[in-house]
């Protein structure tokens, strides 16, 4: 889910560390107390029980989708070769 607003201070647990995230227009708050890397606006968060646990920058998110796609394509290409031989 994409981060659109951040409140609080990464070093101050008293500050109420919260991100507003958006997924297809649905917005909700998630806690940032235990996230592995403090997010920037536009990053993606993986959320568990109301807490963000992992931050991905947009590039990482895209790379992951691309890797999976490439993997699929490579396999298809290999098959095409097999069929020809």
């Amino acid at each position: 889910m994409k981060v659109i607003e951040i409140q609080g201070d990464p070093d101050d647990f008293l500050s109420g560390q919260i991100a507003l995230v958006d997924a297809d227009g649905i917005r909700k708050e998630t806690r940032l107390d235990i996230v592995d890397r403090w997010p920037d606006l536009g990053d993606y968060l993986i959320i568990h029980a109301g807490f963000a646990i992992h931050t991905l920058d947009p590039q990482e998110a895209e790379t992951n989708i691309r890797l999976m796609r490439e993997m699929a394509e490579k396999v298809e290409a290999a098959e095409a070769v097999e069929q020809r031989t």
Binding site: D24, R31, D33, I34, V35, A49, M68, V75, E79
Partner: protein, 361 residues
């Protein structure tokens, strides 16, 4: 949710399946540690699509299922207390204690029980019911504990007095070590849990790979994630390798999530813990530290755990050790169904028996 849909894509799964079939050179047995994997493998129909050389065994990764009967009894005893309100994640609601009754029964008889989505929600309950003690049931593995630690800290910081946690928190590598020491359990690979690993880091499985010569692959929960993990595992096994690989890089790094782990270590300390079916495993649990004993329901309510018997006939212990499948349990599908569960395996939506029942009947 566009991002997630990409991973659910069927057109992605088919080529991955083909690659998996190509990578498998000999039969092997994989334990999927995590209940969420078990569920996803059934729900997506993967179980029937996989090459028959791959045997999948479900492991101890459903926190509800591994909660011992004596802990359930203690929870039910707390629910009976005046001025106490139990807050919990949903699954535990219907798990019967040793007398056959569950929190659901207690609730219908007037006990105050609230299902929450996040542990932080129980702080809202504490504000709403100042005259009650809100007891949050801390049941879960590494993924769940940091949020609960953060909630205890938040309660302290906002001077909320009427909130406590009953901790049956468990940690992941110790039960795996206990299982793997059992010579009867012959497995070649571990499908390591995605979310737990995002907290402890993929590196945490290195000792397992080294000691037991196991191919350990961390996998996500979408069908394409699971297939990708199984491809890596099949390749390792074909090449006679046993190492840790991460097929879930979008959520898991090699290193631990140190912010989360620091939070956990600040509030909890390791403790011996009783597991259903596995008995007491040294240092496999987390107890609340002395400094935060005010937030420890066990101390605050003076809860004593008493040994409890498992439901009669229930084979959960054997199932959780990967030694039996649900249909070997005499109660399966007869006295024990998702609508009327006898053992926790059938209650939890991630339980092996529930998954078998839902998808193979």
């Amino acid at each position: 949710m566009k991002y997630l849909d990409e991973f659910r894509d069927q057109t992605l799964a088919e080529p991955l399946l083909k690659e998996l079939r190509r990578s498998v050179t000999k039969p092997f047995r994989v334990m999927e540690v995590c209940g969420t994997h078990t569920m996803s493998i059934f729900r997506s129909g993967l179980r029937t699509l996989l090459p028959e050389e791959i045997e999948l065994i479900s492991g101890p990764g459903c926190p509800v299922c591994v909660t011992s009967a004596s802990h359930i009894d203690a929870i039910l005893a707390m629910a009976e207390l005046q001025n106490t309100r139990i807050a919990l994640f949903g699954d535990l609601f219907r798990v019967p204690g040793s007398n056959g009754l569950s929190l659901a029964n207690a609730s219908s008889q007037g006990a105050k029980v609230d299902i929450v989505y996040s542990p932080m929600d129980s702080l809202n309950l504490a504000r709403k019911y100042p005259e009650e003690l809100i007891v949050f049931l801390g049941v879960g593995f590494e993924t769940t504990t940091p949020g609960i630690a953060a909630t205890i800290l938040a309660a302290k910081n906002s001077a909320l007095d009427n909130f406590a946690v009953f901790s049956t928190h468990k940690t992941m590598p110790p039960p795996l070590l206990a299982l793997l020491d059992d010579p009867e359990l012959q497995i070649d690979g571990l499908l390591c849990p995605g979310h737990v690993s995002s907290i402890i880091g993929a590196g945490a499985y290195q000792p397992l790979a080294d000691t037991y010569k196991l191919a350990c692959v961390v996998g996500g929960f979408e069908p394409a994630d699971i297939l990708q993990a199984l491809i890596l595992m099949a390749r390792q096994i074909a090449n006679g390798e046993a190492r840790v690989e991460n097929a879930y890089t979008r959520a898991v790094r090699w290193e631990e999530n140190s912010r989360a782990q620091q939070m956990v270590r600040a509030i909890f300390k390791t403790a011996d813990m009783e597991w259903r079916g596995l008995g007491v495993i040294p240092e496999s649990g987390l107890a609340i530290r002395e400094e935060y004993s005010h937030y420890d329901a066990e101390r605050r309510l003076n809860i004593k755990l008493t040994p409890a018997t498992e439901p009669k006939g229930c084979r959960c212990g054997e199932i959780l050790k990967g030694k039996e499948v649900p249909s070997q349990c005499p109660l399966y599908g007869k006295r024990c169904t998702p609508g009327n569960p006898v053992g926790p395996c059938m209650v939890s939506s991630e339980g092996t028996c529930a998954a078998f029942f839902k998808y193979t009947q």
